[in-house]
């Protein structure tokens, strides 16, 4: 029977192409706009690493002295940590994995054995200084080689991991393990090449642009004091200190490093928290951590994103507005459907006379609406893609956000079917209730 209803709907669409087009456009516009906004919002708040987000923790320490508090965050904790704390905390063997992290940068001087090739001129490159565990913690896959060994995190060595894209640029995509690159006039040996890795949002560093591109080059954090790697990210301080040399900065209360741990069980977490408490009380004796709010907090990936307002209130309001727009489109569609269905009332009268029950008429019209909703949904998806291209052009930092995954496409179709069914309920109910005899007298 459904096949029959679809056939009738198709005939109906052919009979009233303009009216149908108007409805499809109304639904399509509503879906298009709300999907654009929803996509941006959804991808902003999406769990970037669902398999592990609950076991990766970002550490915050409040090492401040007595006096004014840190007012920039809700709980009074700075976003980042000091170098001395990062170094001290790194001694704990409790976490399954752990990594220090700093956004830095270098000048890459391409190999002059391949003269006059693209990229033969030196260029600046954002770089991340991290520990060996970083790649395993964040589930980053290697194409060639692997991360440096554990000893490098202690002794420091001039080694580097690059991503596929940079490997294309520097080595034409071939296996570059063992090859050397010159960073700031120092030779580094490539030990690994990773897949291009772009978590959205870029949760591992929310201090320097939530939706920025990830780095293409990774070097050991242990090189920091040796090469005096500069911070390319934010540096936040609270204490008046003279910081003239790099050594001064390493000893200072400036927060400019980040720290992540991987913890796999509740017990381990409790143990680690206890360890941190111990560390803080020890530091208190040394005159640090004097504030009323002094302490340590661990936030997992989703908590960390929420804490940083990755999904801004503005964009949530925008979602609300766009759905109101969808509602307006639906109300319009109700009007158009009424027009279409009432035009068909005489035919409904005939069908009733020939034995169609109210239920049959109702279902027939809902099938009709479903077909229109489906077409509207497809149009909406197309418009949504256009909208996303627009968003991309307006906000370059959102460029990583501009795609719809399967769940969003399914959502778009479901929303459009749902809303068109909603729009169709009243007209379909009305038409199936009308007295057929009224329409049978004249035609």
């Amino acid at each position: 029977m459904f096949a029959y209803y679809f056939k009738l709907s198709w005939l109906g669409i052919k009979r009233t192409p303009m009216l149908t087009a108007l409805m499809v456009i109304a639904i399509g516009l509503g879906i298009g706009v709300s999907m654009t906004v929803l996509t941006v919002n959804y991808l902003m708040g999406k769990d970037p690493i669902p398999a592990k987000s609950h076991q990766l923790y970002h550490l915050q320490l409040n090492a401040m002295g007595k006096g004014p508090e840190w007012n920039y965050t809700a709980d009074g904790y700075p976003w980042q940590v000091t170098y001395q704390d990062v170094q001290n905390v790194h001694r704990s063997e409790i976490p399954t994995r752990k990594t220090r992290s700093l956004a830095t940068g270098v000048t890459i001087v391409p190999d002059n054995t391949i003269p006059n090739e693209t990229g033969a001129t030196p260029f600046l490159e954002s770089t991340r200084a991290i520990d060996r565990d970083f790649f395993a913690m964040f589930d980053i896959n290697f194409i060639f080689g692997e991360s440096w060994n554990k000893q490098v995190d202690i002794d420091a060595e001039n080694v580097a991991v690059i991503n596929k894209e940079l490997n294309e640029k520097l080595f034409k995509g071939e296996n570059s393990i063992g090859k050397q690159i010159k960073l700031n006039a120092i030779l580094y040996t490539i030990v690994g090449v990773i897949e291009n890795w772009q978590p959205t949002p870029r949760f591992y560093d929310l201090n320097n642009g939530n939706f920025n591109s990830t780095e293409r080059l990774f070097i050991p954090f242990s090189l920091l004091p040796i090469h005096e790697l500069p911070s390319w990210g934010n540096n936040q301080g609270w204490k008046t200190e003279t910081v003239n040399t790099y050594q001064d900065k390493l000893r200072s209360e400036t927060t400019w490093n980040q720290y992540w741990v991987e913890i796999t069980s509740r017990d381990q977490l409790a143990q680690y928290k206890e360890w941190l408490a111990g560390y803080i009380s020890q530091q208190k004796k040394l005159g640090r951590f004097q504030s009323k709010k002094a302490g340590a907090t661990l936030r997992n990936v989703n908590q960390w994103m929420e804490y940083n307002h990755v999904v801004s209130n503005d964009s949530s309001i925008l979602v609300g507005l766009s759905f109101m727009f969808l509602a307006v489109c639906i109300i319009n569609t109700i009007g158009l459907l009424l027009a279409k269905f009432l035009k068909r009332a005489p035919e409904v009268g005939v069908r009733r006379a020939l034995g169609a029950s109210r239920k049959a008429i109702f279902i027939q019209h809902l099938v009709d609406v479903t077909l229109i909703g489906l077409m509207g949904g497809l149009l909406g998806l197309a418009l949504g893609q256009l909208g996303l291209v627009g968003v991309k052009n307006l906000y370059s930092s959102y460029s990583q956000l501009v795609y719809m995954d399967t769940s969003l496409i399914i959502a778009a179709i479901a929303i459009s079917l749902g809303s068109s069914l909603l729009a169709g309920l009243y007209p379909a109910w009305l038409i199936c209730r009308t007295n057929p005899s009224v329409y049978l007298k004249t035609q």
Binding site: L11, V350, R351, A353, K359, A360, Q443
Partner: protein, 233 residues
């Protein structure tokens, strides 16, 4: 077998109440051909719509084939209408964007027949009205008389026990009207009970039995004609 006892039908609008049927009583037996006449506005169409359960009624008792119609819900009434009643209208009421085949198909779809069964029934019905060669034509490509014959085929395809016709020849010229009348007579001879509203006295006379409705009532209500009694005896 159709029995109406003191049927009442009132149309209410904001301003007026129209008593379209009042104390309307009638009995129609299996196999009869009843012609219904009466002045315009007397309630003929209303009677036919109540008979076909397209219209509810406000009082009295109506039994169709032993079933008390007022006790049935919409689904049951639709099913009963679909299986037992065929409608023919003055204005044909074919569905304009379905071809003849699909038009005749409509009641069979609601009946739930298999595709094969529907096909053979449609072909037979169109054959019977002499239009089997035009199955793929649209109604607009036919003359009025041909359209009415399609409507008759549509009414017949489900092999209903009752055929209700509201001025089936009203929009046709006299030649076409006679052809349609002839077709109805044939159908009646094969056992289908027919109730036909008409303004044409000549056509009415060809029916077995005449009912005259005036002001929502049967003006000369009478039991079966003696002729028929004799025939049955």
């Amino acid at each position: 077998m159709l029995i109406m006892n003191n049927i009442k039908k009132v149309f209410r609008t904001d301003l007026v109440e129209t008593h379209a049927l009042r104390d309307f009583s009638l009995e129609v037996n299996e196999g009869e051909f009843v012609a219904v006449t009466g002045p315009s506005g007397s309630g003929k169409t209303t009677f036919l719509n109540v008979t076909g359960m397209l219209e509810t009624f406000d009082g009295g008792c109506y039994t169709l084939d032993g079933k008390d119609v007022s006790q049935l819900n919409d689904n049951q009434r639709s099913k009963l209408r679909n299986e037992k009643i065929g409608f023919i209208f003055q204005s044909f009421n074919l569905i304009p964007d379905l071809n003849l085949f699909d038009n005749v198909d409509v009641p069979l779809r609601y009946r739930g027949f298999s595709a094969k069964e529907r096909k053979s029934r449609i072909e037979n019905a169109l054959e019977r009205v002499g239009l089997s060669a035009r199955m793929k034509h649209l109604p607009s490509q036919l003359s009025g008389g041909q359209q009415q014959r399609v409507a008759i085929a549509r009414a017949l395809a489900g092999e209903p026990r009752f055929l209700l016709a509201d001025e089936p020849t009203g929009n046709l010229d006299s030649l076409m009207a006679r052809q349609v009348m002839q077709l109805l007579e044939e159908i009646n001879q094969q056992g289908t009970t027919i109730i036909m509203v008409t303004h044409d006295a000549e056509l009415a006379r060809r029916a077995q039995r005449n009912i005259h409705i005036v002001d929502g009532q049967v003006s000369d209500y009478q039991q079966l004609q003696p002729v028929l009694d004799l025939a049955e005896a």
